[in-house]
């Protein structure tokens, strides 16, 4: 009953909505293309004219400065024109439906929408409504997916670990509410990582995670033992308020990554975090700023990865591609 609209008839990436069901070769293509774009940021003129004349609209229904800025930078480095629409501040407050908001925007001849929305499935909903020449990139939808974040995390892992083949990766924290975690799990499995672990208290781990191919752990020490990559997830304040956890203090005590706990992981393990980090809650400053942390590199990789994805989806509309 469900047709996958991400890939066109030639198997090219037309929309980038979720990592799920994308073939391994395509993910590797994204990483390889991103590699080529990293050099652009080191030049005097940090632009290539690839998407010149194209219009990219950042449609953010949920506030986000960092993700939106990265997408904006990526589009500008491709020489595209960028428009930012923070919808929570305008139309939907007046009660305009998503479908109507789209119709208004389409009249502006957009080539690409970068969408962040609180409802899972909203970017796909948008992708099914827009005309065939328009592409949609998911910048995060509900708890469902955040595919560009997952890809920049994979890019970072590949940069530091070269191969995915014999890795053990542990994802720690609020997986239940995390779209990043879901996308990361799909990406890691597709790229062939043999062992993916998820670590957290029962209140923060959703039902049936094992069906995604991961093993579930409730003890941090046991969960990160020998791991090559430790990915820490952000713990939001709301979790304490919705009675999922007693306090940030207790969370730090049980699941916070400190230098001492990090020693349980592999000696050359890298520590990642999709950001923004909560110092003293999920991660100790000493670890976040320490030698094993690659958190800042993740941020710079984000631009190159998004440049790669944007070029690939808009390039898919080429007739003879």
């Amino acid at each position: 009953m469900h047709d996958d609209i991400q890939l066109d008839e030639r198997g090219q990436l037309r929309h980038f909505l979720t990592i799920e069901r994308l073939p391994r070769e395509l993910l590797v293509d994204i990483l390889d293309n991103a590699e080529r774009f990293t050099v652009v940021g080191d030049r005097a003129v940090k632009k290539v004219p690839l998407l010149r004349g194209k219009t990219v609209v950042n449609l953010f229904f949920e506030p986000s400065t960092r993700t939106r800025t990265t997408f904006e930078l990526a589009a500008k480095r491709l020489s595209a024109d960028v428009m930012n629409l923070n919808i929570e501040a305008s139309a939907t407050r007046k009660g305009e439906s998503l479908a109507d908001t789209l119709r208004t925007l389409e009249a502006m001849n957009t080539d690409m929408f970068v969408v962040r929305h609180q409802d899972s499935g909203a970017p796909e909903f948008i992708a099914r409504q827009v005309s065939p020449e328009v592409s949609v990139i998911n910048a995060g939808d509900g708890r469902h997916a955040h595919p560009t974040q997952a890809m920049l995390d994979m890019f970072t892992i590949r940069r530091f670990k070269q191969s995915f083949e014999s890795l053990c990766v542990a994802i720690v924290g609020d997986v239940a509410h995390s779209r990043v975690a879901r996308s990361e799990i799909h990406a890691l499995k597709t790229l062939g990582v043999p062992e993916v672990r998820v670590v957290g208290p029962k209140t923060l781990l959703p039902v049936g995670l094992e069906t995604l191919g991961v093993s579930v752990h409730h003890d941090l020490d046991e969960g990160i033992a020998g791991a090559d990559v430790v990915i820490m997830l952000r713990l939001q304040q709301e979790r304490m308020q919705s009675a999922l956890l007693p306090s940030g203090h207790e969370y730090f005590h049980t699941y916070g990554l400190t230098p001492k706990r990090l020693k349980r992981a592999a000696r050359d393990a890298i520590v990642m975090h999709p950001g923004p980090i909560n110092r003293g809650v999920e991660i100790d400053s000493a670890v976040a700023d320490g030698s094993q942390s690659v958190i800042l590199q993740q941020v710079t990789h984000g631009i190159a990865v998004r440049m790669a994805v944007m070029s690939m989806v808009l390039g898919s509309h080429a007739q003879a591609a």
């Binding site: 929305h117 469902h144 069906t211």
Partner: protein, 427 residues
């Protein structure tokens, strides 16, 4: 009018009849089965029912007709016509209209709008609490007097256990059946689909099966306390069957129905966050669906419902969580019922009992059987008729169904309500 239904296969669960015979109608009654009765004369109308099934008309236990208040979604006329086209001769409408059916005036309004409609007859379910707000009891006596066949809070949670207990006690005093939608208001609050591996995968907040079980457990204890007669609507999970079975064994006057969609679809059918599958209670896992089928087969649950909730296109044209729950179920009910028969869940007689006889008995209606002297509420259908469910063939104003575009088998050809031919399928 004198109508002869000729040569059909008569299925009457009450008498156990399953035989080819003629059915003779005069006025609003069935006057004979088999041979023409003496003094009948010539029938004004002869309906060729050969190769077709003739059975008592289906009775829907809770449909949303949307009028008054939401006429952009559907109207009493359109939905009663759709019901007849779907083989239903009686439809109970739920009180969650605007205004709510908590005063006799709204019942009169509905009856008035239904007058002259060439479709199923409508019976109102009155509100259990005033405004369905779960705080103050509705004037159930007045509602019963004006013709309500039961009372319900139409899926709106009654959080205060004290209020629910009183409502059950009061309804029981009046001899009114209370229709209950079992769900714990807190566990189900944030969810939009079944909580399980699939909701985890697609990242939608879930309603755990526990929500229904806790609601059921609470309500059953109060039913036992108050001696009320209760009917639980659209059970969705495996565990619920045991609760109902045990309650009946303990002598409680309880019954339950299952929505027809829940016997076919599961949570994995919510594939691309498709709002067509957004329904409440949510579609659960395959093992829940299979347990419900077994319960039907064994008679532990003995009623079916179309669970009809028509919507306008806009209500479903949104991401899953932002869409309105509900499936427009009248048009597809018969083919889905026959699929259960085909799958061996039950035979045709039991199937007809589940959607005609048992609901009629629950409501104390004069219909549900093909006995001589019974009200002539009759459905004739062709079990082999293949057709496509689409905007053109659907009679309901709401086209919100996950079965849209599918080829279905089985179609109603004629429907009689009180001896009147209210629906005839164009050849």
């Amino acid at each position: 009018m004198k109508i002869r239904l000729r040569g059909g296969r008569l299925i009457d669960p009450q008498s156990g009849t399953d035989a080819v015979a003629d059915l003779w109608v005069d006025g609003d009654r069935i006057v004979a089965i088999g041979r023409k009765p003496a003094g009948y004369g010539a029938p004004a109308r002869e309906i060729d029912a050969r190769e077709r099934i003739v059975c008592p008309g289906f009775v829907e236990l809770g449909a949303r007709l949307r009028e008054p208040g939401a006429e952009h979604k559907a109207s009493i006329a359109s939905e009663l016509e759709a019901a007849a086209a779907g083989g239903f001769t009686t439809v109970c409408c739920t009180p969650d209209t605007s205004p709510v059916i908590d005063t006799p005036a709204v019942v009169e309004l509905i009856n008035q709008r239904a007058r002259g409609v060439r479709g199923a007859r409508v019976l109102a379910l009155g509100a259990l609490t005033h405004g369905l707000a779960g705080e103050v009891l509705a004037e159930m006596h007045a509602l019963k007097a004006i013709g309500c066949v039961g009372v319900t809070n139409a899926g709106r949670a009654i959080r205060d256990t004290g209020v629910l207990k009183n409502a059950l006690a009061y309804a029981s005093t009046l001899g009114l059946t209370v229709f209950l939608d079992a769900e714990d208001p807190w566990l189900g609050a944030q969810g939009v689909m079944h909580e399980g591996a699939h909701s985890t995968r697609i990242g939608l907040p879930g309603v755990p099966a526990a929500a229904e079980l806790i609601g059921l457990a609470r309500d059953l204890v109060l039913v036992a306390e108050t001696g009320a007669r209760a009917h639980f609507r659209t059970l969705s999970c495996a565990g619920a069957v045991k609760y109902i079975r045990d309650a009946r064994k303990a002598g409680l006057a309880v019954s339950a129905d299952v929505g027809i969609a829940h016997l076919h679809l599961t949570d994995t059918d919510v594939a691309a966050h498709d709002a067509a599958c957004h329904v409440r209670p949510p579609l659960r896992e395959a093992r829940d669906r299979d347990a419900l089928r077994r319960a039907l087969a064994r008679g532990q649950v003995d009623m079916l419902s179309a669970h009809h909730q028509p919507h306008d296109a806009d209500a479903k044209a949104a991401p899953f969580a932002a869409s309105a729950p509900g499936i427009s179920g009248l048009d597809s009910f018969l083919p889905l019922l026959l699929e259960l028969v085909e799958a061996g869940v039950m035979d045709l007689t039991r199937a007809v009992a589940a959607c005609a006889l048992a609901p009629a008995r629950l409501l104390g209606l004069d219909s549900g059987t093909l006995a001589v002297g019974a009200l002539a509420d009759v459905t004739v259908f062709d079990p082999r008729h293949d057709w496509t469910l689409d905007a053109a063939s659907m009679r309901s104003q709401g086209h919100n169904t996950p079965f849209l575009g599918q080829r279905l088998r089985g179609r109603v050809t004629h429907t009689l309500v009180g001896g009147r031919l209210v629906h005839e399928l164009d050849a």
